[in-house]
Structures are given as structure tokens and as C-alpha cells.
């Protein structure tokens, strides 16, 4: 028998209680893992401080003429410009949403290539056929699409010139996103194809993304851009990408705050119950601890005995919970955007250790301090 053996014998003395404790800790950590993945994901869109978004000045939901591109490109202080149109649609049933962003392949690659994890071969594939489609990994996984598949997306609003709402594409590549938290729940099509086929809104784009030239302050470039179009039928509003995304993010942020608080409350409750039960289990053995002391076990031996016991419960529970959470994240609908990161594991390990020590520490300190003569009275 080793010291740890003694601790584990102690822990399993009431197997029912110990299993219940481990199950509670497991559930708590599984919840925690999923919550973390949830907070980690979804809003993970990489935001580049330096980039500017040029949108319709009246409403970001309205479009802009694609010909603004020429003006933007020749403007002083502008390095590169990309643009995109968007089609919201669904596959099969209306709740199975798929969004297609239509871009100029070369420009799209220069501006978004890195954050979306695009490579030259993908762009070649996108340019090769008019109806080529690059599909984000999350979307591809959700739809079960693979390279070479013929797929059909039904537009909610976008109708083809022949009246059909069904847009056919060929999957030419699947892009992974720069990191696991990059949103890849959408697809990329050729602007030329989309623009040529659509019945309404020809030659318009949703917005432009402008990369300022080296050394140019984006904040001073923005008003210059808007000044160019101030007297046109479609005035623009130019913001940093961050500002542009903020209103959208705020809604997700609110949701996250609420979910976070609810889950945190549940977690705190579970942990309080566990810590209290552990403390009770140790208090129950005050007399035995006195016996161990009288046999010659020192304070810090007793301490480590109790701490190993509580750490055992938390380590098993934490590991099981983490694994459960990880499995849940893997098999969850990709559109939820759960991202289980390495930092997630580190957090779980740290919490496991911290709470394990804490829940053992309080009763252990008590048991350690009590004079032996007092512990003998606790029989």
C-alpha cells in the first residue's frame, strides 16, 4: 500500500457518494468545456484593424454600384480593394441555411485569402469554371459536401434571369479558415457568374473592403472616401472593419453574456455542493484523523492525504468532463460555432487543480489544526 493507495481507499470508502461527486464534477466540467467553446467560437471572425469597409451610407443592408471600384482603386492612399455580393439561401429545407459570398477571385484572395486559409490552387479552381464554389470547412461538414460535388442552393431573394431560384455550383475546394475560431460557415462563388445570372441588383455589391497603403492612417482615409461619393445617388459610409462588425457583434455578445451567466451560476452551485460534501466527508473522519496523528502521521502527511483524496475526485471528474465536452463540441452542429481550443484544456486542468485543492484545503486545515485530544472526542 502506498500513501496514494491509502488516499484512494479513503475516497472510495463510500463509493456511492464518491461516484455522485465525480458525476457532479464531470457534468460541471462538461458544461464548462462547452461554454468555453461557445464563448470561444462564433465571434471569432478575424478583424483587421487597418482595413476599411465601404458600405451604403443610407443602410448597410443596401448595396453599392460595382463601378465605385474604379474610383476607390485610383484614390490616393488606397493599396487594394476587394468587393463582395451576398446571397442568402438554403439547401433542401429553409432552415438549412447557406450563405454565398460572391467575389472577384484574385481580389478576394489578396484581401481575405490569409484569414480564410485560401491557397492559390483553390483560387485557380474558383476561376476555372463559372459555377465553381469554394466551401468553408464548417459549412462543408454540415452539408456533407466534398470537392467535385454538384450542389444546389436556393436563394431566399436572389432569382436567376430564367426565374429559377435554384443556383447550381460545383465544389472546387474547401477552405479551412486561418484558425479553428475563424467563421467558415459560408461559401465563395465568382462574382462574374452570380452577377451575370441574377435578375435583380445587377452590377451592385454589398460592400467594398479597402486596404490603405502603407503608412496611411485608415481613420483619415475613411472621410476622404466618403467625400468622393457624397454627391452621388449612393453616398457611402466608410468605417474600420471593427466598427462595421460591432453592431452585429453586440447582439452575439449579449447572447453570450446571458448564456455565460446562466451556466456560471449552475457551475458555481455544483461546485459549492461538491466542496461542501467533501468538507463534510472529511469532518466525518475527524476521529480517524486523530488516530492517524497519534500513530505518528505529521500534519502535512494528513494534509496531503486529504488533498490527494479531493484531487482524485476532481481529476477524474475534470478529465471525464473535459472529454465529454470535447466530444459534444465535435459532434455539435458546426453552425453553432463551438471551438474547443488548447487553452480550453489548460483552463480545465487549472480549474480541476484549483478546485480540488480548495475543496480539500478547508477541511484539511481544520483537521490538521485540531489537537489530537479534541479529535478523540469526535467519536
Amino acid at each position: 500500500m502506498t500513501f496514494l493507495g491509502l488516499a484512494s481507499k479513503n475516497a472510495w470508502r463510500k463509493p456511492g457518494r464518491t461516484i455522485l461527486l465525480i458525476v457532479s464534477v464531470t457534468i460541471a466540467f462538461a458544461l464548462y468545456a462547452v461554454l468555453q467553446a461557445f464563448l470561444n467560437g462564433a465571434s471569432g471572425a478575424a478583424v483587421d484593424q487597418g482595413r476599411l469597409v465601404v458600405a451604403n451610407g443610407a443602410s448597410a443592408a443596401q448595396s453599392l454600384p460595382v463601378r465605385y471600384l474604379d474610383t476607390l482603386e485610383t484614390l490616393d492612399g488606397v493599396d487594394d480593394v476587394a468587393f463582395s455580393a451576398r446571397m442568402r439561401g438554403f439547401v433542401g429545407t429553409e432552415d438549412n441555411i447557406a450563405v454565398v459570398t460572391a467575389v472577384d477571385p484574385e481580389r478576394g484572395y489578396r484581401v481575405f485569402g490569409q484569414e480564410l486559409g485560401l491557397d492559390p490552387a483553390m483560387i485557380e479552381g474558383l476561376s476555372a469554371e463559372r459555377d465553381a464554389l469554394l466551401v468553408g470547412q464548417m459549412l462543408a461538414r454540415a452539408m456533407g459536401w466534398q470537392v467535385g460535388d454538384r450542389v444546389s442552393i436556393t436563394g431566399f431573394h436572389d432569382v436567376q434571369k430564367d426565374g429559377s431560384r435554384n443556383w447550381a455550383f460545383t465544389v472546387a475546394g474547401i477552405f479551412p479558415g486561418k484558425t479553428a475560431s475563424t467563421d467558415t460557415y459560408f461559401a465563395i462563388a465568382q462574382y462574374g457568374y452570380f452577377n451575370a445570372m441574377r435578375q435583380n441588383g445587377a452590377d451592385t455589391v454589398k460592400n467594398f473592403v479597402v486596404i490603405p497603403a502603407e503608412g496611411v492612417d485608415p481613420q483619415s482615409l475613411a472621410p476622404k472616401i466618403d467625400a468622393q461619393f457624397a454627391n452621388s445617388p449612393y453616398p457611402t459610409r466608410t468605417q474600420s472593419e471593427k466598427q462595421f462588425l460591432q453592431s452585429f457583434m453586440r447582439q452575439i455578445g449579449d447572447l453570450k453574456a446571458v448564456v455565460g451567466m446562466v451556466v456560471a451560476a449552475a457551475l458555481i452551485t455544483i461546485f459549492m455542493i461538491v466542496v461542501n460534501t467533501m468538507a463534510f466527508a472529511v469532518r466525518e473522519r475527524t476521529f480517524e484523523i486523530g488516530v492517524l496523528k497519534s500513530i505518528g502521521l505529521s500534519r502535512h502527511r494528513i494534509m496531503s492525504l486529504i488533498l490527494s483524496e479531493s484531487l482524485l475526485v476532481f481529476t477524474i471528474g475534470g478529465a471525464l468532463g473535459g472529454i465529454l465536452g470535447w466530444i459534444a463540441c465535435r459532434f455539435a452542429d458546426p453552425s453553432i460555432g463551438l471551438v474547443f481550443s488548447v487553452a480550453g484544456w489548460v483552463n480545465i486542468a487549472a480549474l480541476t487543480l484549483g478546485l480540488g485543492l480548495l475543496s480539500g484545503l478547508l477541511p484539511a486545515l481544520n483537521a490538521m489544526r485540531l489537537p489530537i485530544v479534541q479529535t478523540f472526542k469526535a467519536r
Partner: protein, 235 residues
Amino acid sequence: MSDPIRLQSFITLSEIDKSYRMGGQTVPIFQDLSLTIEQGEFVAVMGPSGSGKSTILNMLGGIDRPDRGKLTIGNSQLHRMGEGALTAWRAQHVGIVFQFYNLLPMLTAAQNVEIPLLLKPLNARSRRERIRTVLDLVGIGDRAHHLPSQLSGGQQQRVGIARALISDPQLLLCDEPTGDLDRKSATEIMEMLQFLNKELGKTIVMVTHDPESTRYADRTLFLNKGVFESREVAA
């Protein structure tokens, strides 16, 4: 004394004061208590309940301490030692046998006996050998893997004695070791203590309520209200 260097007895309590605080009041247990016990002696302590018998044993075992006075055992001055030092001393020099055995219920006899060895840097093999030797010595080698709940009171007390012996201490402190046993088991336990005293030279201080048990002791002390009475009888 045969040992010319030792000017003192093996155990010396001199002018010990001890009191407990109870609800803001100080209740004196001992005042000016003095006592000496020689190496290899088997001393029985009798007296009414509450007279301070257990308190004496606790002080001898270093699990309680005098308020004033000197307490030396061998070369150790217990009244000067802090808790950590007392714990380490206890692990090496004293074995304690309790009235209710105080075995850990989830451990087998062998594992209960092994606990004090967890403190010692022994390899698994010599550890096993030692446990075997001690369990055989107290006559329950064949019950090594039984849980306390599967043993009779007498057998449990043997495990208790084995645990007290495993570190090979010079001093055994027994607080009513037969108080919970039937006559037959009590006799067996007393014979064993006598064997440990006579054959292995253990010094034994035993508290008992049982006049029969005192027959095995070299000397019986009567404690009354914290004072030793003069009806000290040599065996």
C-alpha cells in the same frame, strides 16, 4: 540502575500541572504530579472514571502536554518539544493501543498495521516481511487480509497491538486494552502484553478498570482526583 550514564529513570514526570478549560472555567486535573517508571517496567494504572488516567497516557504519548513541569522519556524532554517534533518522536518511540482498537474500517488487518510504515523508507519486500512477522507475533497471521468488520474484538485488538509494535517502539501505552473484550479474549491479550514485556523488553503503561489485568503488571498505581494513592502494590 545497571546503566551508569543514565541518572534518571526511563520515564520521569516531575511536578506536572495540567488543567482543562471548560466553558471559561479552568478545571485542574493534576497539580504537582510526579512519577517515575523504569525501563522494562509494566505499570498498571487504575482509578475512577475522570480521575485523569487517559490524560497521563496522552501526555506520555506526546499527544497532550503538561501546562507546567518536566516530562522526560529516554533522552527526550517532551515538555520542550513542539508539535512537529512530538509527532516525529511518537512515530519512532511509542506504540498506542486503544480501548476500541481504532482500526481504519476500509483497510485490511495487514494494511492497518502498515500505516506507520508509510512514514519509513522501506522497500515493498522488507515492508511485507515486517508486517508478517508482527502479525504472526500477535497470532493473527492467518487473518492478514480480513477487514476489521470480519474480525472478533479480540482479533481486532491484536491488530491494534501489531500496529503499535510495527515501528518497534520501546514504550507501549494501552488505554483499557481489554475494556471491550470478554474474559477469554481479555486474558489472551493480557498474556500477550506480558510476553511483549518479559520477552521483548517493552516498557508498558496500561490503564485498566479490571483488577484481573493488574496481576500481569509489575506495579499498579491508583489514581484518584489527580493524585496517586498510597495503596501501591508490587506484584
